[in-house]
């Protein structure tokens, strides 16, 4: 298998639309029609950005050379609004989201597909910026985008740009992780501050202006996870990236899948002061707010210190914390010890968190 190339990352900072794309500064229906316009989009935008041998064949399917072993596959669709937010954009999310889903499954992410659903009238310059970010995110994660598709929907039938990515990763030998493998006694670690992505999105979506900008934590975690697995291997029982629904939903899911109780100490949860303040203001709880660059680890208790050290030694894990443990008590429930010394059940939310009246 050829290693992904880290060279040739396109620089779009001075990107301008080469002819004939310049004839159409916005997406028109023809860009999804399978004809010349669509080909031009591939030739002038996607190919230069994502260039790799598998993609360059431009066949109906990418042909991949894979070593023998087990593979993980995952897919995710991205519909975030706004498309650009402090700390990232939909393109970065689309790459990192699928990379992270593979990484927390114990796989080494290798190849991605990227499928775009564009709304008629969408600015080509914005699409270029998104594609550029995807290329940069893929290069940084060491994955190749090897196949893709573009469809265009009529104005009013989309939200500018939707992206679906699917990915394939090679499962690491000797690693067996899963949401059902958490065991009583396991230490629970989170790789950094919670709630950054959700509050970054909310701060721009709702037009709320805070004194200091909250940035999304959007990042690919495969490098950090590889470091943890290399150091501790089988001591890691469960890994998840707590995205939508936040840390609380992820921990509840694991409690149910593994038929164990999850106990955390609220005072140990890493939360940025500006995120906590914004949550207080809106009546939200950071444990339910989305993350896009954090992982939760359930590890054998004797490996907890080692994992914490590895995490804190990685740029994405500097704020990692040991937040709780797995217990045989209160099975299938997440219980938090509050700052008051009392306990509260943290349930799964029914839908999205709603800001309270007062």
């Amino acid at each position: 298998m050829s290693e992904p190339s880290n060279t040739g990352t396109p620089d779009f900072s001075n990107w301008s639309c080469p002819l004939p794309l310049a004839d159409y500064p916005t997406i028109v229906m023809g860009h999804g029609g399978g004809g010349k316009l669509g080909n031009e989009l591939v030739e002038h935008l996607f190919l230069p950005a994502f260039r790799n041998p598998e993609l360059e064949n431009l066949g109906d399917a990418a042909v991949l050379e894979l070593s023998s072993g087990s593979f993980a596959m995952s897919t995710d669709s991205f519909v975030v609004q706004p498309l650009f937010f402090p700390g990232g954009n939909i393109g970065e999310l689309a790459v990192n989201g699928t990379v992270n889903d593979l990484a927390v499954s114990g796989a080494d992410p290798k190849f991605l597909s990227a499928s775009f659903i564009l709304e008629e009238g969408f600015q080509l310059a914005q699409l270029a910026a998104i594609v550029q970010s995807m290329a940069a995110a893929a290069a940084s994660a060491g994955v190749k985008i090897v196949t893709g598709d573009t469809k265009v929907v009529e104005r009013g039938h989309g939200d500018g740009c939707y992206i679906n990515t699917a990915g394939i990763g090679l499962l690491r030998q000797g690693i067996s992780v899963g949401p059902h493998r958490a065991q009583p006694g396991d230490a629970i670690l989170v790789s950094g501050t919670i709630g950054d992505h959700g509050m970054a999105i909310m701060s721009v979506r709702e037009g709320l202006e805070f004194e200091s900008q909250i940035r999304s934590d959007c990042a690919s975690l495969n490098g950090m996870i590889a470091a943890v697995l290399q150091a501790t291997g089988n001591a890691v029982h469960t890994m998840r990236d707590p995205t939508r629904g936040g840390l609380a939903s992820t921990l509840n899911e694991i409690a149910i899948s593994s038929n164990v109780g999850v106990a955390i100490d609220e005072t140990r949860l890493p939360v940025r002061p500006q995120v906590q303040s914004a949550c207080e203001l809106l009546g939200l709880d950071p444990v339910y707010v989305a993350n896009e660059g954090k992982a939760v680890f359930f590890v054998a208790p004797e490996a907890a210190e080692c994992v914490l050290e590895v995490l804190r030694g990685h740029p994405l894990g500097r704020d990692a914390a040991h937040i709780g443990h797995v217990t045989t008590e209160h099975k299938r429930m997440l219980v938090a010890r509050t700052a008051m010394g009392s306990n509260r059940v943290i349930p799964t939310q029914i839908g999205e968190q709603l800001p309270r009246i007062c």
Partner: protein
């Protein structure tokens, strides 16, 4: 977070809790009026820190101070009917969207194409009206005295700007008449009240001494952080144990006796007192505000003439008794069975401030012993 973390200090909380333990000699029932206080009590486990012996105990009873819970079904149905109309932008605070009307809720109306939007301030709705002159923008103005000044300001601004496409569906309710109604009800069991700190930040607490005198109950103006609540409970207990019935202010960093005079002036300019129906409780005389004659043009109920509303509450729901403090949420036969946050029968199961939802979410099916063992499990683990 200045002014928040100071009031979440676990050690001081334990100290106040011990003082309360030492002071209590009998069973007392204390009602916290405001849903925000209920939320904080359950979220912080304050109820677990209070004495619960057979002879000396404190039972916190959750009052009717959740605007989502007490807004009458008929008004929710009117909101749904208006929100479903083409050409309307219907603006609401977030947690009203899931409140069940007779057949539907605002989320479902949105799903069927209604333009329903969550706003954080009624002034955002005024801005929407300015930006969308071809649409009718309606704000769902529910809440107690706390949210009333901003709602009054929105109508005031709309009138000053000459906006003809802005209106408010008003259902404001008032705390003092509700306390009066609860204490006057036959079989009342409430010994003391924690008055709602944010309501008092607007209105002051000059309305409460006559109530404390008439019903001989202590009323303590109380905030929302754990230490605020524990201090409010401590003061109420000390009064009860020494046979006093006074109005005390335990939230003096925010509340003054007079309250916010500028806000009160605006309120009296825009609103007038009216009888109001409270969901689950019934009509309480002079317990709400409506737009007065100078501002009636901005009343969405008059602008949209919604008729033919036939409301039907679930016969299984005992929300009214919960709101009056007559039963605990878990004593309702439907609690956790037919009625859950996923399929709420009454509004108290919907709002995060609603007593039933707070019970379900944070104390869900856990007995005191189970919670205690969860605690020992935590503290017993050397690595946490």
């Amino acid at each position: 977070m200045k002014y928040l973390t100071e009031f979440r200090n676990g050690e001081i909380a334990q100290r106040i809790a011990r003082e309360i333990q030492q002071a209590v000699t009998r069973p007392w029932k204390i009602m916290e009026v405001c849903g925000g206080q209920t939320h904080s009590i359950i979220k912080n486990g304050i109820d677990q820190m209070l004495p619960a012996g057979p002879e000396a105990s404190i039972e916190m009873v959750h009052g009717p101070g959740c605007p989502v819970c007490v807004t009458p079904l008929e008004l929710i149905d009117k909101a749904l009917a208006i929100a479903a109309q083409p050409g309307v932008i219907f603006c609401s605070f977030g947690d009203m969207l899931r409140v069940p009307g007779t057949d539907s809720d605002l989320f479902q109306i949105k799903g069927r194409g209604g333009d329903v939007r969550i706003v954080y301030s009624p002034l955002d709705a005024v801005d929407l009206a300015v930006k969308n002159p071809d649409k009718q923008v309606v704000f769902f103005g529910v809440g107690f005295e706390t949210t009333a000044p901003a709602n009054a300001m929105s109508v005031h601004l709309a009138k000053r700007r000459g906006l003809t496409n802005f209106s408010v569906l008003v259902s404001h309710v008032l705390v003092p008449p509700a306390i009066d109604a609860i204490l006057s009800a036959p079989g009342n069991k409430i010994d003391a009240f924690l008055a709602a700190g944010h309501v008092c930040s607007v209105m002051g607490y000059w309305e409460y001494p006559p109530l404390a005198e008439k019903f001989r109950v202590p009323i303590v103006v109380t905030g929302f952080e754990p230490l605020d609540l524990l201090d409010g409970i401590r003061r109420a207990v000390l009064q009860l144990e020494s046979g006093r019935h006074e109005v005390e202010n335990a939230y003096s960093r925010v509340v003054t006796y007079d309250g916010n005079r500028a806000a009160q002036k605006l309120l009296s300019e825009v609103f007038e007192v009216t009888d109001r129906a409270w969901r689950g409780i019934g009509v309480i005389p002079k317990s709400g505000w409506r737009l007065n004659k100078d501002y009636r043009d901005y009343d969405a109920e008059l602008r949209f003439h919604i008729t033919g509303i036939h409301t039907q509450e679930s016969p299984l729901c005992h929300a009214g008794e919960v709101l009056r403090g007559a039963i605990k949420p878990a004593e309702c036969p439907a609690f956790g069975k037919e009625c859950t946050p996923r399929h709420p029968l009454g509004a108290t199961m919907v709002s995060s401030e609603g007593a039933c939802a707070a019970y379900y979410n944070y104390g869900r099916f856990l007995s005191a012993e189970e919670l205690a063992s969860a605690g020992s499990g935590l503290s017993g683990a050397a690595h946490v």
